[in-house]
């Protein structure tokens, strides 16, 4: 079976004053298509670092990273940018909406970046309705609650029909009920939108919400691919 993402012996080493910091150690994981994969671990366990590498925001020091079987570790900066524009969507821990754009414009912007010219309005509206914000499209980020903003961010990550959405602690700043709603949304998306979602969390309560989970500790995989 071809995985959406597969890593082989990924290592990430940061130079620090007086030596090196081994952030990721020999990570080998496989993430199937159309899954909701959860990377668990306490803060400092290396999950965000791993996610950044998976999302082509950062490069591994050694090891192989296959994206739909393609070795993207060897990609040029330009290819990686293109990948990010078209194939990937991001949802960040803290709210990452563009403050001078309305909810609608934020979502539309990812379509623009992906070079989609036709049917933008329909797609934006569809995505915002999907996240339950069909009636707040013209609102500015500052006028929305944290949960609402996060949902706009998800709609934005989704709009250009990426193959993978990376969500780094998407629920960290949300209350339990909202967090649960976001998780439900993720599961719905995986089914309805043909998308693979990889998210990180340290929230124990959410760990069973995915289809697959890896637990990281001190930069290494502690428990392998637990199928939920």
């Amino acid at each position: 079976m071809e995985y959406m993402i597969e890593t082989k012996n990924l290592n990430r080493i940061f130079p620090v004053t007086g030596g090196e910091f081994h952030a990721l150690k020999d990570i080998s994981i496989q993430i199937p298509k159309k899954s909701l994969t959860i990377l668990k671990g306490r803060s400092g366990s290396g999950k965000t670092t791993l996610m950044n590498i998976l999302g082509a925001l950062d490069r591994p020091t050694t090891g192989t990273l296959l994206f739909e079987g393609q070795d993207i570790g060897a990609y040029s900066e330009k290819q990686r940018e293109l990948l990010r524009r078209k194939e990937v969507g991001f949802v960040f821990q803290s709210v990452s909406l563009i403050p001078m754009m309305s909810a609608y414009e934020n979502v539309e912007f990812s379509l623009r970046l992906a070079g989609i010219k036709e049917g933008r309005r329909e797609r934006v509206e569809e995505c915002l309705k999907l996240v339950g914000l069909g009636n707040r499209m013209e609102h500015m980020p500052q006028e929305m609650s944290g949960g609402e903003q996060q949902r706009v961010a998800i709609a934005r990550a989704l709009a250009h029909r990426p193959k993978v959405i990376f969500a780094d602690e998407p629920t960290a700043e949300l209350d339990t009920a909202t967090a649960a709603a976001v998780m439900k949304l993720f599961r719905d998306l995986v089914e309805k939108e043909d998308v693979t979602i990889i998210m990180t969390t340290h929230d124990v309560g959410l760990m069973s919400a995915g289809t697959l989970s890896y637990e990281l500790e001190d930069g290494a995989v502690k428990t392998d691919a637990v199928q939920e």
Partner: protein, 932 residues
């Protein structure tokens, strides 16, 4: 709290530095005004006294008092005046630097005991000069003794001039039958010595020894014993007291009071005819007249730059606070009240202002010296230092500047300390209309400025009159110009977002992601940038405006001076004549012997020489007098080669007029007002007549508006009103005029290849040629450049320009760098979404174009427009009394280049910083910024 504040300052060191720079400049400029004003006025006062001395050959502080007591009559007045003379300087409030009393008997006829000159009648004055011994040297014989000689003879000394004039012989005895000595016998004197001044240039000899050519001086003690005291009523005494006031030590701030004292003294009826102090009075009069104008002008010119500095401080303070919102909310969450936060910032501003006070004053002194050395706009070169003093006024101005600065920078604190963070964020979300927009302050300001403009345009004549009467530049005029720049700038802020929105609406669909983001950024956060934009518009516009004002006034004054002077050197040689003889024998014809003219061509530095005969004439038609004017008689070829500049002032080139004139000996060119006012046509005949009654008839061959040295209308102040009188011009052929008016001294105009006039004086001395006047264009031009009003204007405008450039650069850089830092997280998001570094850069450059560059270009436009509107009016203030040439607006493209080069450098630095920041940016790091 103090430590916290220092920490805060260290953390925001760049903004704190900006605040400090703004404060220092504010103090320096504010304190610089009184420093420069006082120093330059002092220099001007001293210069004017020196100029008077040079021009008139008399000490400008000379006060002369005369009195006569005729055999007891007016004796009391005489003595009162004598007493008064010793304290007149005290009365005038000026130090005394010299006192000479010349008391003498009335002229008396003396008979010599010598056979050789027996019978020769000599009218002599027997008198005394106070303290003669210490100011004179005996060059032959000996000084008089202070006792009466045994034979009853008075010993007397005479000057060399008297020795020659009166043919005295040492030891000669002279008796005066009309003057009796104490015993009633004819008074006898004996010449014992000849004296001269012991030191040249001694103020004591305000009347040179040569002028005492019929005086004999006796000892003051002897004179007093014989002719004064109880014997005074038997003689007629004449006295002249020369008091030299030390006018050079007069301080400029005392000038007005000094003038009032002099006026008061001269107004006293009893003294009005016997006290004169022409130099002192004239110089003070002139000084006080100019002082007011200079004071006001210098102040008016500084106001815009002070206002800009204040705006800068306000802007930076606001920026600092908006970046410290989180600190403020942190403080508040820990229980700090509004008052405490205000106190914190007050303390911070006070510390910065305090440092600025200490460093701003020396900078102010330095700035004064720079202004004092300015020769033209952005040019410095005069070596003479201004003596800058720290007066109470200086501290007052600096203090006021500090207080204003502290309060001004505190205003934003109230805004930020009072409202919760949520409120601020919410407010930021929707760009609400600002108060000034709701109140239409921009429209109102522009309207008022335009009203002012039209109002002033309609009152140009009135303006000219008030300037002639010594009034300074109407502050409202300059205010109106500044208001115009401000109003139009604000109007731009109202219109610019609409333009951007329109452009966005048109191109929305096809925009690249970067373009799209930058449009939205500009539209949504535009309100935040408005102050920076307004600041940019103001600085650029004021920069151009100031440059134009400075260039224009100087250039026009120089052109006018060139026009009035004519060429490099205009000299009048001394012509020998029988004038003295004719005075006594009016029937004799006056003749002059013309010095050789060809010698000028042989001076190597002279390119060409021309004879120009000028004389006031009456213009007549038949017997009817059309008016008065001046005739210029020239040799066309010489003249054409020698005159400097002004070839193209009339409808045709000067050459064509000269060609026409040379076709006929009787041809004349006349001023156009003869055509306009008296209906003269080409070919008409007119007669011009000089004061001697000689008449010449000429045929009009051309009409002229301008002719080097010719002033078409003379504006005179008669009482309160300015009267404009027409002045006519006749240009004729020299040969024709010399035939009709006889040969009379003419000016020689010399075009030289050497600007300095030293060669000429050297040549004249070497060849022993005498000149009654030498006028040099170079020194006339130099006079303009060193004129206090011109220099102060130039210096202040230059300084304003430099400060403006500095503020513009610093303000713009700071604003951009901060706004980029603020958005680093956002850039991280953009990058994560797949935007390229170049796209982000593109986005930022777009934003700069929408706000910064647009504002700069608009500022340039406003600067040019406002210059065109207001500079011609402002110029009037600086126009010479004899402003002839039409005043043109001068812009030196080099100034604009300088301005735009600075702006370009600034933009380049901005972009370089941008590129560096973005290139160094790590997406993962940028994103982490937002994680805490």
């Amino acid at each position: 709290m103090f430590r916290f504040m220092l920490q805060k300052l260290r953390h925001k060191k760049w903004l704190a530095l900006c605040l400090l720079i703004g404060n220092i400049l504010l103090v320096a400029v504010a304190a610089g005004y009184p420093m420069y004003k006082d120093a330059s006025l002092q220099r001007m006062l001293t210069d004017e006294f020196s100029a008077y001395a040079e021009k008139n050959g008399v000490h400008p502080g000379l006060i002369t008092m005369t009195s006569v007591a005729r055999k007891g009559e007016f004796a009391e007045d005489f003595l009162a005046l004598e007493e008064y003379s010793t304290r007149v300087c005290d009365e005038l409030g000026v130090l005394e630097s010299g006192y000479v009393a010349n008391v003498s008997l009335s002229y008396a006829n003396g008979e010599s005991a010598l056979e050789r000159v027996a019978g020769a009648k000599r009218d002599l004055r027997i008198g005394t000069l106070s303290d003669l011994r210490s100011h004179s040297t005996v060059i032959s014989g000996e000084m008089y003794s202070d006792d009466l000689a045994e034979d009853g003879c008075l010993e007397a000394v005479v000057t060399e001039a008297a020795l020659v004039q009166q043919k005295f012989v040492l030891g000669e005895e002279i008796s005066f039958s009309s003057v009796k000595d104490m015993e009633g016998n004819p008074l006898r004197i004996r010449i014992t010595g000849v004296i001269k001044e012991s030191e040249e240039g001694d103020n004591y000899w305000v009347q040179s020894p040569d002028s005492y050519d019929n005086s004999v001086f006796v000892s003051e003690a002897v004179f007093n014993k014989m002719f004064r005291g109880n014997r005074m009523n038997a003689y007629s005494l004449n006295a002249t007291w020369y008091i030299i006031s030390d006018c050079y030590s007069l301080r400029q701030e005392d000038a007005t009071a000094a003038k009032e004292r002099v006026d008061g003294l001269l107004e006293l009826d009893s003294f009005s005819k016997i006290i004169t102090c022409d130099g002192y009075e004239e110089v003070l009069d002139e000084f006080v007249g100019k002082e007011k104008k200079i004071n006001a002008t210098l102040l008016i010119l500084q106001v815009p730059v002070l206002a800009l500095l204040a705006a800068f401080l306000f802007m930076i303070s606001g920026q600092m606070l908006s970046m410290e919102q989180s600190e403020i909310s942190l403080l508040k969450s820990r229980g700090a009240g509004k008052g405490q936060i205000v106190r914190l910032y007050f303390m911070q501003n006070l510390v910065l202002a305090g440092i600025a006070f200490v460093t701003g004053l020396p900078l102010g002194i330095y700035l004064c010296k720079i202004i004092g050395s300015s020769t033209a706009f952005l040019e410095f070169g005069i070596r003479r230092n201004l003596k800058v003093e720290l007066s109470g006024e200086v501290f007052l101005y600096a203090g006021v500047a500090i207080v204003v600065s502290v309060l001004l920078t505190l205003i934003p604190v109230f805004k930020y300390s009072g409202v919760s963070i949520v409120h601020v964020k919410r407010k930021k979300a929707r760009s609400e209309k600002k108060l000034w927009q709701k109140l239409y302050l921009d429209v109102i300001a522009t309207g008022v400025a335009l009203y002012g403009f039209y109002n002033f345009s309609g009152r140009l004549e009135e303006l000219t009159e008030s300037v002639l009467a010594g009034e300074p530049l109407d502050p409202l005029l300059y205010f109106s110009a500044s208001l115009f720049i401000l109003g139009v700038g604000m109007l731009f802020l109202r219109i610019q977002p609409l333009l951007i929105k329109l452009l966005f609406a048109i191109r929305k669909r096809s925009l690249s992601p970067a373009g799209y983001a930058s449009f939205l950024q500009t539209i949504r956060t535009g309100a935040k940038q408005q102050f920076v934009m307004l600041f940019l518009i103001l600085t650029v516009a004021l920069g151009i405006f100031n440059a134009t004002v400075a260039r224009t006034i100087i250039a026009n004054a120089e052109q006018n001076t060139t026009y009035l002077t004519g060429t490099n050197l205009v000299v009048q040689e001394y012509w020998r004549s029988n004038e003295a003889y004719v005075k006594n024998n009016p029937a004799t014809e006056l003749y002059y012997s013309e010095p050789e003219f060809s010698k000028y061509d042989e001076i190597p530095e002279v390119i060409s020489a021309a004879r120009v005969f000028r004389q006031d004439v009456q213009i007549k038609q038949g017997k009817e007098v059309l008016g008065t004017g001046e005739v210029f008689a020239i040799n066309t070829k010489e003249y054409g080669e020698t005159v400097v500049g002004n070839e193209s002032l009339n409808d045709h080139h000067l050459r064509e007029y000269l060609n026409v004139l040379s076709t006929n000996a009787e041809a004349v060119l006349v001023s156009d007002n003869l055509r306009v006012q008296h209906g003269k046509k080409l070919g008409d005949k007119i007669t011009y007549e000089n004061a001697e009654g000689n008449k010449i008839e000429g045929t009009i061959y051309g009409f002229l508006d301008y002719w080097t040295g010719y002033v078409p209308t003379v504006q005179e102040l008669s009482g309160e009103e300015v009267v404009t009188k027409d002045n006519y011009l006749v240009v004729a052929n020299l040969s024709q005029v010399q035939e009709g008016f006889e040969i009379r001294p003419y000016q020689v105009w010399l075009k030289t290849n050497e600007k300095d006039t030293d060669f000429f004086y050297a040549w004249a001395e070497e060849n022993n040629y005498k000149f009654t006047s030498v006028e040099s264009l170079q020194s006339n031009l130099a006079e303009i450049r060193t004129d206090t009003l011109f220099q102060g204007t130039n210096g202040i405008l230059t300084l304003s320009f430099i400060i403006i450039l500095l503020l513009c650069g610093v303000g713009y850089l700071i604003y951009w760098i901060l706004s980029i830092r603020e958005r680093e997280l956002l850039f991280g998001v953009f990058r994560a979404m797949g935007m390229r570094k170049n796209e982000i850069l593109h986005m930022l450059v777009n934003e700069q174009i929408f706000s910064g560059i647009l504002a700069i270009l608009f500022g340039g436009l406003v600067g040019v427009v406002s210059s065109k509107m207001y500079v011609p009016m402002i110029q009037i203030t600086y126009a010479a009394e004899k402003q002839v040439l039409p005043q043109t607006l001068i812009t030196d493209s080099a100034d604009m280049v300088k301005l735009f080069v600075v702006i370009a450098v600034m933009l380049c630095i901005c972009i370089a910083v941008l590129i560096r920041n973005i290139a160094a940016m790590k997406i993962t790091n940028a994103l982490k910024l937002g994680e805490d």
